[in-house]
Symmetry: C2
Subunit: 352 residues, 2 copies
């Protein structure tokens, strides 16, 4: 066991402060990673502020962060995938039971016994797991991915959650060249969805409430932008989409988007509104449409996504901040005031 | 043009009365069918009473009926599939544009220019189409199916709507041996769904609010019956279904069923509640579940379904009535007092 510098919160209302946390010494299958960048996901904020108290109550102190990229410093004796000096990445999970049907299908994200990267029972040290707002992390090599070396590492970090969360459903529902794909909401997840849909060769349409985002959407790879409050712009696309990815976690009229789907089209939610969304069944019946959800992706698919990003030069658009600005960043996150993801430069933690 | 005996309603509140309607003389591609049996679908009642006034207002007089089985009496000069004396069947559609992508994909039910069997503009005679509550009908051979000769014809009629509506989504979503399938609601559609799921080799569970239906569900082919108001009986099945067919058109808690789906499970609605159903998105996200709808089936698939029924000795459980009892049957239909479909014996019309 050793001590690592980190930033933690001690209650729902308290700010992040510098702290010291315990990390285990690497066991034979473990990789110790010096964290270079950690993205700030909206989930971090929900967890830090205990906004999911019903489902996943926060254990304090809490160290969030599950968009982690860094450099391997030490490896256990049985580790084969990594050696010191390698670039490595860790996402939302650090373990699973490895024996259930979900794990055997490379879908660890649905394993009933997974271990999330933070605020989950820590099987090694007791207490809860601590995430990436820290100088280092120790993870079983089976849950560590190889990170691309040709990309801006600050922009690679968000691929571990925002990236895989949008890549996986598009792969699952068959987004390819020749398909028409919609992306609802141009935030951290949405901007990655646009990059992927474009890279897959799909005709990509961004739906946004903000006319001001139009230019940026086109720059990110959209072929068209529709202002969702403009009925004409919406109607123009009626019945035409093969797939729509909806990254809006706030309440919104989902039927307006379901009606844009072609026959056999699918709309997948990756944001989870707090209250149920009213779905007009007739809209589903008439074109055999489907409405579904998707959660991150498995470890193998996350590696596949990172390799895809390396080949296609895809990384998140980030605003890099020092860890000392994390409280300010959270305030801006609440207002969606970031293009499109904060990425914490962990070198800033060395001065603490 | 010739006159045919029929039963029609002249306003939303008036009863069915004996009437005479015009049918066209068969054109070269047409088949003239003497109707032997016509099932009573809940849609007939909605249309007769103008309960879909917003979407599909009723033109009076109205002759419903789209579960038609009969015997070919005359064929046009270009007809190749049928000859006089053959058994034939007609379902919900009597025409489509035949050129759109949906028609080319054998999915005429999604053709934007289809012609429904009743209350739809009649391209031949003007006015609207008249359905199967009649002694005969004239239909283009492309929309006429061959009917099985080894089954009780009264029970074959409902296959043309209740049958294909449940068969098609199970085929589409891959119901086969080894899968676990749920059926919600044991009415006209539900009882067909149980027969098909059982015939496909799936482990079939019926959900019903009525303990009294348990024995009947088992007789129809269910492996298990769960009383949906019993939380223990529901929880027992959490996360275990590959597919659930929901045939309940009334409002109900859809999330209770979505939560019974396994990873990648699908719940398909074939009933359309009048108001939107609130869907908890988190339940979709956690196991990549999907929620969808399905409408009848294409002509080729309807024929496939009829052939499947012939091979597996499947027909609807019907209560045969003379046409003179149709008003009484409608009153009972409103109370779901029928096991499981009314089938009108059209021989009764001869005495009118």
């Amino acid at each position: 066991m050793y001590n690592a510098k980190a930033y933690s919160v001690s209650s729902p209302a308290s700010p992040f402060v510098s702290a010291s946390i315990a990390r285990r010494d690497p066991t034979e299958h473990d990789v110790q990673i010096e964290i270079l960048f950690c993205g700030i996901c909206h989930s971090d904020l929900h967890q830090a502020r205990n906004e999911w108290s019903g489902m996943m109550p926060t254990v304090y102190p809490c160290v969030p962060g599950h968009e982690i990229v860094g450099r391997v410093r030490k490896v256990g004796s049985a580790v084969t995938k990594f050696k010191p000096g390698d670039l490595a990445a860790v996402g939302c999970m650090v373990d699973s039971d490895r024996t259930c049907p979900e794990c055997k299908a490379d879908l660890e994200q649905f394993c009933p016994n997974f271990t999330l990267t933070y605020n989950f029972p820590d099987k090694h040290l007791g207490g809860v797991t601590y995430g990436g707002y820290s100088e280092s992390i120790v993870v079983d090599e089976r849950f560590v991915m190889r990170a691309p070396s040709n990309l801006n590492l600050a922009g690679v970090a968000p691929l571990l959650c925002a990236g895989i969360t949008t890549y996986s459903p598009m792969r699952h529902w068959g987004v390819t060249k020749g398909k028409k794909v919609g992306v609802v909401g141009l935030g951290g997840l949405g901007h990655m969805a646009v990059k992927f849909a474009h890279a897959f060769g799909a005709h990509t349409v961004v739906f946004t409430t903000s006319p001001g985002k139009k230019e940026d959407a086109l720059r990110l790879g959209a072929d068209e932008v529709a202002i969702s409050r403009n009925a004409d712009e919406m109607n123009k696309h009626a019945g035409s989409f093969d797939f729509i990815l909806d990254a809006v976690a706030a309440e919104h009229d989902i039927n307006a988007y379901i009606n844009l789907l072609a026959r056999d089209g699918n709309l997948t939610m990756v944001g989870a509104p707090a209250t149920p969304l009213p779905v007009a069944v007739f809209g589903l019946i008439m074109r055999r449409r489907s409405f579904s959800g998707s959660a991150i992706g498995g470890i193998a698919e996350t590696q596949e996504m990172l390799d895809f990003c390396a080949r296609h030069n895809i990384a998140a658009d980030v605003e890099v901040i020092p860890i000392q600005k994390v409280n300010e960043a959270y305030e801006r996150l609440v207002k969606s005031d970031v293009k499109y993801r904060f990425s914490i430069d962990m070198a800033s933690l060395k001065s603490e």
